[in-house]
Symmetry: C2
Subunit: 332 residues, 2 copies
């Protein structure tokens, strides 16, 4: 953990600034808890959302992780599933299939489609993804400032053994159910991508930075692949607290273990913390089942991490903030 | 009626070639009758569809008249309404409205939207509207060759008294219910538009050309505004038979009378025939109520013209073909 300067020391004249990186379902549910904890307090939450899962299907630009955060925080998510719209219907998808138009593995809901139609329209009119996301959020009022990690297109592609062409992450994840094991992930476009407006500032001026229990490789990892973001995180004076997405050696949801295997990281709480490393993490929150986790240079704290409901997520978020205050005293 | 040469005189070695110009509902219903008449015969029907009603909404390219023909002949139309899809739902439209995204006056059905999504995707990929239409028709199998009048964008706009900017025809027609009376229609882009591939050939090599009872100003008139199409019609050796869209001084459906008023044409069967003129028409089929119609240079025949069902439309189409054979003998 490098020394961090303190020129951004918060003063009581401004709201507490919390900046969180986020993938999809796990990130969104954690954020909903975080928002609940901070309700009634003077606090601003900025979310830097992963956009490397984004994909263009049927000519429409789809941002699964931004939408999951937006729908979850905006009260429109299909709760049991964790993503997509509540009371969804699939009339358009059935019609697209009747035309023989593919792909069939990504079923787009009718309600969800309205979001993609508007996003695509506005992008084609020249709006940035940041601007589009802000416009969509005027409907959903997520209670956080939701920023894409970049306005430039970055897409995680997957190199598969014996397959000459890379496959889009979504196709491997959704259509192929994360099999076979990729030889490598490639964040196509990442090297030329710039952080979206506000992203670096949100990291630099934060009082606390949080890594929710999102996929460390293809969600948080993709955000870190945008040049400048990792550097800003290393340099910020804010404490960075991560919440382990691995409980008892298995991902809480999704297939993070498969992704970790690709990058040679053990699917354990300790493995993920070491993958982030002490340059980034000032504290690592693990599940009570992983209480014996020890990571060189990173303080670890254990508590139940299953986000069974909003209250559970809020309790985790509260402990993450307390943990942050202890590793590096916050305002007051 | 100018003399027409006979170098395209049909021979019995090829199918009868019927070419029809068409707008939306009236054209589509007439074509369904025509197809029924020719069922089991060696005949090819080419439809030159009006695309000047086309509009881009929510970033999607919508071709109302092509779709009405396609859905009607393909068995997917909402029969009572005459356009749009059967068993339609409006989930996406409701969501777009929830985003506050306009316009609200053009309600897009979910089933219909799939067509627009694919069309827009394929157009953006570089396919021509002809190619897109052919691809969409592989699903609908309309039993005719459906050609857009042009692959170039032509849009009918409306100049309204006291309104500085022209309004898209669809907005005036749908949102403003064809009021106030325009000072003028403008086919934006028509002067640079070229007939789509196959259009001129379909006119030149036709055995019969038909003008269904479509709007003579904004449907058939818009097709005639594409440079080269009127000339090809004047020069073809095929007899051209028109079916009056006006019965007893009123349009059968739509607001053709308003459109006729804008161009200074009486909303009568005779008025429309004179508007087309003897250079185009070799015969004019009017309703029995208009049996006294007389037009200089154009033979007129009267019969019931209400297309109450497919059989009624077929009977009209059969008489139109017979009329054509009499004004200019067809093969056998």
């Amino acid at each position: 953990m490098p020394p961090k300067d303190t020129h951004n020391e918060p003063t009581s004249s401004r709201p507490l600034r919390i900046t969180a990186l986020a993938g999809g379902v796990g990130g969104a549910r954690f954020l909903r808890g975080l928002r609940a904890v901070l309700a009634g307090q003077s606090a601003e939450i900025t979310v830097i959302g992963n956009t490397a899962d984004d994909i263009t299907l049927f000519g429409l630009r789809i941002c699964p992780d931004l939408d999951t955060v937006m729908y979850t925080l905006g009260g429109g998510v299909e709760e049991a599933q964790g993503w997509g719209r509540r009371e969804e219907t699939f009339t358009v998808s059935a019609e697209l299939a009747a035309y023989g138009a593919g792909p069939s593995w990504f079923r787009l809901g009718d309600r969800d489609l309205a979001t993609h139609i508007l996003r695509t329209k506005w992008l084609r009119e020249g709006a940035s993804l940041s601007q589009v996301t802000a416009r969509l959020c005027t409907r959903w009022q997520p209670g956080v400032r939701l920023l894409p990690m970049s306005d430039d297109q970055v897409e995680t592609h997957v190199l598969l053994p014996g397959v000459p062409e890379p496959v889009h992450f979504q196709e491997w994840w959704v259509a192929m159910h994360a099999a076979p094991l990729p030889t490598r992930f490639v964040q196509v476009g990442a090297e030329r991508a710039r952080p979206a407006p506000g992203v670096l500032d949100a990291i630099e001026t934060a009082d606390v930075v949080l890594f929710p229990p999102s996929n460390p490789v293809v969600s948080i990892g993709a955000i870190l692949a945008v040049p400048g973001i990792r550097e800003a995180l290393v340099e910020t004076s804010a404490p960075i607290i991560g919440v382990s997405p691995i409980i008892g050696g298995a991902p809480v949801r999704g297939m993070a273990d498969v992704c970790l295997k690709v990058v040679g990281v053990p699917a354990t709480a300790a493995g993920v913390a070491e993958w982030y490393g002490p340059q980034l993490l000032d504290g690592w929150l693990v599940d009570e089942r992983d209480a014996d986790t020890a990571v060189e240079g990173i303080p670890v704290r254990a508590r139940p991490l299953l986000m069974t409901d909003v209250d559970a997520a809020a309790a985790i978020a509260r402990d993450a903030l307390r943990f942050a205050a202890e590793v590096r005293p916050l305002r007051e």
